[in-house]
């Protein structure tokens, strides 16, 4: 990262740079950009809500800290205009960012020569897989959070249903990617590639492969049924199934391609050490610690955003708004409106 900032790595022999042709270096750029854009988008979105909490703080400590992090937010229309623009820009940046970051990350595998990895389907496969896995993870957390925080009126069954539909769509793309990999492995006539896939399905790690297939291909297809995708318990269970399936996908991609590649005398079996397992459990701990800290100290739903759409989507107001004509808009005059409350 030092040299990618324009400074050479310190050493006694002169300038030493990173290798910009290496996917590992691309990862540095991609993942750190992903992290910083996401962090900024998240933090900027929180600022108005932090200001709300600051205004309602009861202790001096809370007032200080929430005041500090809300950056002096006043709610002036000028700052709201800039806030909206920033949200627009960041949303516009984030979408191609997701696509490009997961493409870059897939190239750690795709630009190698290992059979099972060296295939051009990887970028779209990983992008779809990321969105698939991400939505499943969100479902797992959200279904519990909305009940615990009593947000059922704000995060409704419709929202859950929409997310399940996205899971079905991206799960189908992932399923097609599996078929494409398999087909190309045969169609290419490359015996190493063909063997890699036969090994995946029938070799010593066949159980991981079939877990992956069941969880990632079959379970999202269940959400075609409206009854299933509007059922909260089933959604929760299937989101966990998808998370497990994606874990197995990563396991299959890494282990089955590495344990048997070109040279049979190098073939071996992988067994995890206590450090691998410990690392994995640690990652759960880190994730849940951060998530619980977030849920404890910060608003889980963007209050300002809910307020701004309240009238339009709330079931308690019905407002008949007459849209102003262009002439009226340009005179800064808005036309008459009627409010009809139940």
């Amino acid at each position: 990262m030092v040299s990618s900032l324009g400074f050479t790595l310190p050493n006694a022999f002169g300038s030493l740079w990173v290798n910009f042709n290496s996917p590992l270096v691309w990862d540095v750029f991609a993942i750190s950009t992903y992290l910083s854009v996401s962090l900024l988008f998240w933090y900027m979105g929180l600022v108005p809500d932090l200001a709300t909490i600051r205004d309602r703080a009861t202790t001096a400590g809370r007032k200080f800290w929430y005041g500090f992090f809300s950056l002096g937010w006043t709610g002036s229309s000028k700052t709201w205009a800039r806030y909206e623009y920033m949200s627009l820009i960041l949303a516009g940046i984030s979408t191609p960012l997701v696509l490009s970051v997961h493409t870059i990350v897939s190239m750690d595998f795709a630009t190698s020569v290992i059979p099972g990895w060296h295939t051009t389907i990887f970028p779209p496969y990983f992008v779809a897989g990321a969105i698939f896995s991400g939505f499943a993870m969100v479902q797992t957390l959200l279904l519990i959070t909305r009940v615990v925080f009593k947000l059922e009126d704000y995060i409704t069954i419709e929202h859950i249903e929409m997310m399940n539909i996205v899971i079905t769509v991206t799960g189908s793309v992932v399923g097609i990617a599996y078929l494409t990999e398999f087909f190309i492995a045969w169609y290419s006539g490359v015996e190493y590639e063909s063997y890699a896939f036969i090994n995946r399905a029938t070799g010593p790690y066949w159980w991981a492969y079939w877990m992956m297939m069941t969880c990632n291909v079959i379970s999202p297809q269940l959400f075609w049924s409206k009854a299933i995708r509007t059922n909260l318990m089933v959604s929760f269970f299937l989101s966990i199934v998808v998370n497990v399936g994606m874990w197995f996908e990563r396991f299959v991609i890494i282990v089955t391609s590495l344990h048997r590649d070109y040279l049979p005398s190098s073939w071996a079996m992988f067994s995890p050490t206590r450090y691998d397992i410990g690392d994995y459990i640690f990652s759960f701990g880190l994730f849940f610690t951060l998530f619980f800290l977030f849920a404890k100290y910060l608003p889980v739903v963007n209050m300002a955003e809910v307020k701004s759409v309240m009238k339009g989507v709330s079931t308690e107001f019905t407002i008949k708004r007459i849209k102003p004509t262009k002439k009226q808009r340009s005179n800064f005059l808005l036309s008459k409106f009627e409010i009809k409350t139940i």
């Binding site: 040299s3 042709n21 991609a30 950009t33 910083s36 820009i89 870059i104 300002a304 800064f332």
Partner: protein
């Protein structure tokens, strides 16, 4: 010489009323200083007559600058300073590099957005405290 300025303060509990009031007030020729709200009201900044923010332009400029800087760094290091034969490929390996300046663009935009918006907010507070 002291001059007195009179202000009108309006308090509303409905966003459509605010918009309507702003329209009426401006039609009478009274300048609207500012409108404070707990959530963004669509159409309000146009109604009040604020000038359009130049944040997107700044973000674009910073992004382009970031792209140019990143591209220059990569070309210089890989073609002039330390050219290496990697996989038999050309020194100027654009297909390898193309996404790095594009990422750097995000960084720069990010930096621009963050610095500009934070500094505006803090500056506003400083002004408010001292004036």
């Amino acid at each position: 010489m002291s001059s007195t300025t009179n202000y009108i303060l309006g308090v509303y509990d409905d966003e459509d009323e605010v918009l309507h009031a702003v329209g009426e007030v401006k039609a009478k020729g009274i300048k609207v200083e500012d409108v404070y709200s707990p959530f963004p009201i669509h159409g309000l900044d146009v109604a009040v007559g604020h000038e359009r923010t130049r944040l997107p332009i700044a973000a674009f400029m910073f992004g382009t600058l970031g792209m140019i800087c990143a591209f220059s760094l990569i070309s210089y290091t890989m073609v002039f300073d330390w050219p290496m034969i990697i996989g038999g490929k050309d020194f100027f390996a654009l297909p390898n590099w193309i996404q790095l300046p594009l990422k750097e663009r995000y960084y720069s935009r990010l930096l621009a957005l963050f610095l500009l918006s934070v500094s505006q907010m803090i500056y506003g507070q400083v002004i408010r405290l001292f004036l």
